[in-house]
Subunit: 210 residues, 2 copies
Amino acid sequence: ASIFEENEKIAEENRLLLSKANTFAVNIMGSPGSGKTSLLEKTISELKDRFSFAVIEGDIKGSLDAERVAKLDIPVIQINTGGACHLDAFMVKKGLESLPLKDIDIIFVENVGNLVCPAEFEIGTSFNIVVSSIPEGEDKPLKYPLMFKIADICILNKIDLLSHTAFDLDAFKKHLKDISSSQFIPLSVKTGEGFSLWIEALSESAFRQL
Amino acid sequence: ASIFEENEKIAEENRLLLSKANTFAVNIMGSPGSGKTSLLEKTISELKDRFSFAVIEGDIKGSLDAERVAKLDIPVIQINTGGACHLDAFMVKKGLESLPLKDIDIIFVENVGNLVCPAEFEIGTSFNIVVSSIPEGEDKPLKYPLMFKIADICILNKIDLLSHTAFDLDAFKKHLKDISSSQFIPLSVKTGEGFSLWIEALSESAFRQL
Ligand SMILES: Nc1nc2c(ncn2[C@@H]2O[C@H](COP(=O)(O)OP(=O)(O)OP(=O)(O)O)[C@@H](O)[C@H]2O)c(=O)[nH]1
Ligand SMILES: Nc1nc2c(ncn2[C@@H]2O[C@H](COP(=O)(O)OP(=O)(O)OP(=O)(O)O)[C@@H](O)[C@H]2O)c(=O)[nH]1
Ligand SMILES: [Mg+2]
Ligand SMILES: [Mg+2]
């Protein structure tokens, strides 16, 4: 079996595990430093009274992101990939098996910062988020198409920097629309602008599943 | 033989090809949107009368970056990796074989935007540049250590955005120094601040080799 077939088998096991526990699992992807952890910090702080959360952090090395998220008093697991540029279903399974899933409404899996391979490895989550950002430029959907294609929601973070860059928002929208049917949500984790649209979209999707 | 051994064999062939032609080859790596192509555009415009250049562009898809660089009237080759998140020595060899190397002083290879796998695949270049940037945050050397470790020069681009972010420059410097002996060059391709230090470092390294 190919590496993808093997991976898909375990991803299916993860899906069953999550659906039995009635847990909504979200895969958070994007470039290094696009704002994935910042998004989780703000999202969990705002929704903690409505949902119970857990986070699985995927990084090549270290536990910096897990330490940030642990401050929110929720269960968090750090997975070190040992050099792999993406999380795979097997790694995530290890994380899922050590969490009290039936007590958890929403689990976020923050993938390795990378716009390429995380889009190719199913991990058993049921909702894909790509976090793009203003400083990266408006051409990313064209240059890294698969990631934007598989996303249910495309967040464009750091719109507070829009006036300090030459970013072409209309071009980004068009490039995204040309290759993907994902919902487009421009926001700033820093200032909170547009954030309520993300909270709404996430809550709706979670309620639909739970 | 492992995929790395195979790759290293071809990388060695590329090194021989480049040293016979007396061409200085530089691998430009960094996150998606850190400013790799922008750096090349400005560098080549400033040094075109002192050196002859060529560029090999590595991307998953498309030729957006090659089209930008082609405007500088230098030979440029677009390599599409077909999904791979890094260039390997075999892909680069194809590019090298279709360029008039003996007429070229400096060749830039712009790798796929990714802080992980490009650091693991030698391609036969003799100088590694990592382009980091202010909006990505100061923790990147800690979270993606190998890339920063193998870099001869670490460029921190977009310092024009420093006052609009909470970026901790001293922390970045310290994290870099802890894991790497690379020369640190903060600059802004946009405003030109710090750019002369990069031009100097590149010219010196090229002269040493040529
Ligand atoms: N200006 C601005 N900066 C932001 C925003 N959101 C996050 N940042 C900054 O962006 C940098 C990276 O944020 P992180 O949340 O660590 O990014 P990440 O995607 O989790 O990074 P990795 O896990 O290393 O891939 C930090 O310096 C944040 O302060 C925003 O809305 N506006
Ligand atoms: N503020 C600011 N923006 C910059 C600077 N350098 C580049 N940019 C912007 O950063 C964005 C990305 O620049 P590119 O040069 O395309 O980046 P890249 O690293 O080649 O991107 P990929 O090839 O897609 O990985 C563009 O919107 C540039 O205008 C800079 O010094 N300051
Ligand atoms: Mg993070
Ligand atoms: Mg580029």
